[in-house]
């Protein structure tokens, strides 16, 4: 069994080859990121032409670094591979500390040149012989926000952690998602971010197994394109979904079957359709949009799983309520059926012109509803055993400001928790600056908020599918 990937996320000592004082070079940015992340272990730079970079001591070669080096980040050109391969062998021989190499630079097999392929093979062979794991080459690398490790050269990385880990086959797609989500009005942080580039040694299946077993990862985001080892990847995903949700975004949806196929089966069997079947088989949750991907992962991270897909919709504005019903239908969710007791309770609580149960499961509380009434109505609906999840759609009015509503909501939730009512609540606050403070208040108190009924529906639909898949596991 090869060395585990622990050293990739919790290395004791990091050396960066190729960090110079030139800020335009990737090596410089990598070192900058490590410092910005707040890596607490020993760092060293390998650079024969400098004595220090960004305050970190530089050494002429790997061998001369006195402190422990478990991770070597290669931000040097592919042409340096012969020298680097030798340095890795030597270090392992002399110090036995090196455990993982993250090769960031391009110029390897992805160039489809003999030279590039040869360098990649040489690098892989050197690492494998030395018992050292190789990530990349040509990779964005990893970010671990809990352990404060960042091997990437990305700028604007959001450093707060969460329960979400993202494994991306594409560096650019991964970077898009990680950076965008970190910049959202309610930023979505990542626990671990992994992008493996050319996958000369460590591959996605192994990382997926690792994330599946990682106790601090509560939800896994997986971005895939085509993959010659698709089956092995799916089997690794199947093991992971036993423990936590795996949400997958896969591109190439227009893959057709083969024109040269002799059979109907061959003509219909486009790669994407097979992937889709495998996702269903092994309980992965598929999304097709990056926006849905973020909100779905967040919901898995922060909300309790629903027991089913029956939704109550409570709104203080008619139009958005109807819009929400469409969103539910689009995502295959159905409205809950209120018990007579719940309907009676709602009618008693709400203003006289409130519409309760038209259609069943939907309540228009009217614009005149006050904050306390809203909170009581939400509680009443959540208590109904026929309700698995609740969408609460809210627009500030002169009778009910967003902050007041938020405060009332916060005051009632501990009571619900005490009664073991652990159902996912989807507050959809509309909109923009006018509700920003209220959303902030709720978020700071651990309540996830949503910017639209579409987002809430996408997230809930994914959760309901996962709940349902867990009830009928299919193992490879």
């Amino acid at each position: 069994m090869a060395t585990s990937l622990d050293a990739l996320f919790r290395p004791r000592g990091i050396a960066v080859a190729g960090a110079s004082n030139d800020p335009t070079k990737p090596g410089h940015q990598v070192l900058h990121n490590l410092l910005e992340a707040g890596y607490a272990g020993q760092m060293a730079v390998i650079n024969p032409n400098a004595s220090a970079v960004l305050g970190v001591t530089a050494y002429p070669d790997l061998a001369s670094i006195p402190a422990t080096v478990e991770m070597l980040i290669l931000a040097v050109p592919a042409a340096t591979t012969p020298a680097m391969a030798e340095a890795i062998r030597l270090r392992k021989l002399q110090r036995q500390d090196l455990r993982v190499v993250v090769a960031v630079a391009g110029g390897f097999a992805e160039t489809h040149t003999e030279e590039g392929r040869a360098w990649q093979e040489q690098l892989a062979e050197a690492c494998v012989s030395a018992g050292v794991r190789l990530v990349g080459p040509n990779c964005v690398g990893i970010i671990d926000n809990r352990n404060r490790v960042d091997t990437t050269f990305l700028t604007g990385v959001h450093r707060r952690s969460s329960g979400i880990s993202l494994l991306s086959q594409s560096g650019a797609m991964g970077a898009w998602m990680a950076l965008e989500w970190g910049a959202l009005p309610v930023p979505v942080g990542l626990n671990k971010f992994v992008s493996l580039g050319n996958m000369a040694e460590v591959d996605m299946g192994e990382v997926l197994d690792y994330l599946g077993q990682d106790p601090t990862t509560r939800a896994i985001g997986l971005y895939v394109e085509g993959n010659p080892r698709a089956r092995a990847l799916m089997e690794a995903a199947a093991r992971a979904t036993l423990r936590k949700p795996v949400v997958v975004l896969k591109v190439g949806r227009t893959d057709q079957g083969s024109d040269a196929a002799k059979s109907h089966t061959g003509a219909l069997a486009g790669a994407d359709r097979i992937y889709d079947g495998a996702f269903r088989q092994y309980g992965l949750i598929r999304t097709t949009r990056v926006d849905d991907f973020a909100v779905t992962l967040s919901a898995f991270d922060r909300l309790p799983l629903p027991l089913g897909g029956r939704v109550a919709v409570l709104t203080n504005a008619g139009g958005p309520g109807v819009y929400a019903l469409d969103a539910l239908a689009d995502h295959g969710l159905s409205l809950a059926q209120f018990s007579p007791a719940t309907k009676a309770s709602l009618r008693a609580t709400l203003p006289p012109f409130a519409s309760v149960g038209d259609p069943d499961g939907h309540v228009d509380m009217t614009g005149g509803v006050g904050p306390r009434q809203v909170a009581q109505a939400v509680a009443a609906a959540l208590r109904d055993p026929g309700v698995d999840a609740l969408f609460h759609i809210f627009i500030p009015t002169k009778f009910n400001s967003a902050e007041e509503m938020a405060r009332e909501l916060l005051s009632l939730l501990p009571g619900l928790k005490r009664n073991s009512l652990d159902k996912p609540l989807f507050p959809v606050l509309l909109s923009g600056h006018g509700v920003a403070q209220a959303r902030k208040l709720l978020e700071e108190n651990g309540i996830m908020t949503f910017g639209s009924p579409d987002q809430a529906a996408a997230a809930l639909a994914a959760m309901a599918r996962y709940t349902s898949a867990r009830q009928k596991p299919a193992r490879p």
Binding site: G226, N227, P228, R229, A230, R231, M234, A261, K262, S263, H264, T265, G266, A267, L268, A269, A271, R273, I274, D276, G277, A278, R280, Q281, K472, A474, P476
Partner: protein, 237 residues
């Protein structure tokens, strides 16, 4: 250790095709394999001449299909080598003579293995079940709404083979055409358990046949009392 007959049949037929330098199995060869792998087929016999055809039709009873079996005649219907709903031994005998004659005039040097006399299947829901070996995924199976328009309707779903009975049922439930199986417009529901078990059997065949390229079972007819395969097209890799 003795090899199971099911695997032996697979190896033998694969070897025959390889020796004859062809990738496509005949319908009879396909049925031999189906029988060994628990895939129900409409009762049939391979005959050599019209008189044998008459006897076979008598034994099978009811309307029969009369189809030429030849590794060299791919498009049997086009070649006039398929007659359906043939009633009784006399008609069967005449039909046999007809398809043999048509076969020879379609391709004078075609190898003729014989003529298949097959009991016509009961009416039911037509499904397609397919299998293939994919470079990235390995053995894969497919099922969905079958018939001649299957590639237009595209109401199919895939899984990595082999599958469990539970998974087979889930596949069927995913189809837009699933209500056809549970009964619409006064029609009774099909035997879903038998259908699921047959899907499992086909997935086992695909998973255990490394030389398989593509397999089409279209249609697999599902009805109240079970399922029955009425055709089979197998191409090796």
């Amino acid at each position: 250790m003795a090899r199971q007959p099911a695997h032996e049949t697979l190896e033998r037929i694969t070897a025959t095709c390889t020796a004859q330098e062809r990738l496509q199995l005949t319908e009879w060869e396909t049925y031999e394999i189906f029988r060994q792998w628990q895939i129900p087929i409409a009762p049939c016999e391979l005959v050599g001449d019209p008189s044998e055809a008459a006897a076979a039709a008598e034994r099978l009873g009811g309307p029969v299909a009369v189809k030429i079996v030849s590794p060299d005649i791919g498009h049997k219907t086009e070649a006039g080598c398929v007659r359906l709903n043939v009633e009784g031994p006399l008609e069967a005998s005449a039909a046999c003579a007809e398809v043999l004659a048509n076969g020879r005039s379609y391709k004078s040097d075609a190898r003729i293995d014989g003529v298949l006399i097959q009991r016509m299947a009961p009416s039911g829901v037509e499904l397609i079940v397919g299998g293939l070996h994919d470079r990235s995924f390995g053995p894969v199976i497919m099922t969905g709404v079958g018939g001649i328009f299957t590639e237009v309707m595209k109401d199919v779903t895939f899984r990595l083979a082999p599958v469990s009975e539970e998974q087979a049922l889930l596949m069927l439930q995913e189809l837009k055409g699933y209500p056809l199986l549970t009964g619409v417009r006064g029609k009774p529901p099909v035997d879903l358990k038998a259908l699921a078990r047959t899907l499992v059997a086909i997935s086992q065949l695909v998973a255990n046949w490394p030389q398989l390229g593509e397999l089409d079972l279209n249609p697999l007819i599902a009805h109240e009392q079970g399922v029955i395969a009425v055709d089979g097209l197998v191409t090796l890799r």
